[in-house]
């Protein structure tokens, strides 16, 4: 069994390129057949918000790539429930990704405990 990796998105787009650069790592790890979980916590849930138009800032829109994650074999896409609540967001406002699930912080905790690698940027 290949080592597993959990990629943690914890920052808002587009003030930093952390989201985009983590996404690139996720896609590359998928090409190596590593089991991958994309976990969105804290302000990272804003990465998935629908209707982003960073083009008006001349920033490339990477949010569409999140939708394509299942095509790359990344099927565990998890969003922290508490963060959605805290920021007055609901799942319907997020980009539609097959298999996207919300999870509690304690579930996220055990998921992180069981991953071989955890990356944030």
């Amino acid at each position: 069994m290949n080592k597993s990796i959990c990629i943690v998105f914890n920052k808002t787009p587009y003030g930093s390129q952390a989201g985009r650069e983590l996404l690139d790592i996720a896609l590359m790890a998928a090409a190596f057949d590593m089991p991958i979980t994309a976990l969105f916590v804290e302000q990272g849930v804003y990465q998935l918000l629908k209707g982003q138009e960073p083009d008006i800032l001349d920033i490339k829109n990477h949010s569409a790539t999140f939708k394509a994650l299942p095509l790359y074999g990344i099927e565990d896409i998890l969003v922290e429930e508490d963060a959605l609540q805290k920021f007055n967001l609901n799942v319907q406002e997020l980009v539609e990704i097959d298999g996207l699930k919300t999870i509690s912080s304690s579930h996220a905790q055990s998921l992180l405990a069981n991953s071989d690698f955890i990356l944030t940027l």
């Binding site: 914890n10 916590v41 804290e42 508490d82 912080s105 905790q109 992180l112 405990a113 955890i118 940027l121």
Partner: protein, 91 residues
């Protein structure tokens, strides 16, 4: 698996805490070492470490008053990364 959470900015500790399990360790480095001088932290049984070189550099070594914090140097930092199954830098 036991994880060593490495925190390098003070505000990141509280952000990371909800995701850190009881059996994990937390190591403060760089600017985050100031947190060890604040008094006690609402940690949940995790073992707490702070990098002594980063405290000394900031003139803070004698300001870690609470026994909650274990002072470690770089050789011990490396040992901790082996003692725990993995390291997580919560950036």
């Amino acid at each position: 698996m036991k994880s060593l959470y490495i925190i390098n900015q003070p505000q990141k500790l509280n952000q990371a805490l909800p995701f850190i399990s009881e059996q994990d360790g937390i190591l403060l480095i760089e600017d985050a070492v100031v947190v060890a001088t604040y008094g006690s932290v609402q940690a949940n049984h995790q073992t707490l470490y702070v990098l002594v070189e980063d405290l000394i550099a900031r003139g803070l070594k004698d300001k870690v008053g609470v026994e909650q914090w274990n002072l470690v140097d770089y050789p011990q930092f490396v040992e901790l990364t082996l003692q725990y199954d993995k390291s997580v830098s919560w950036l």
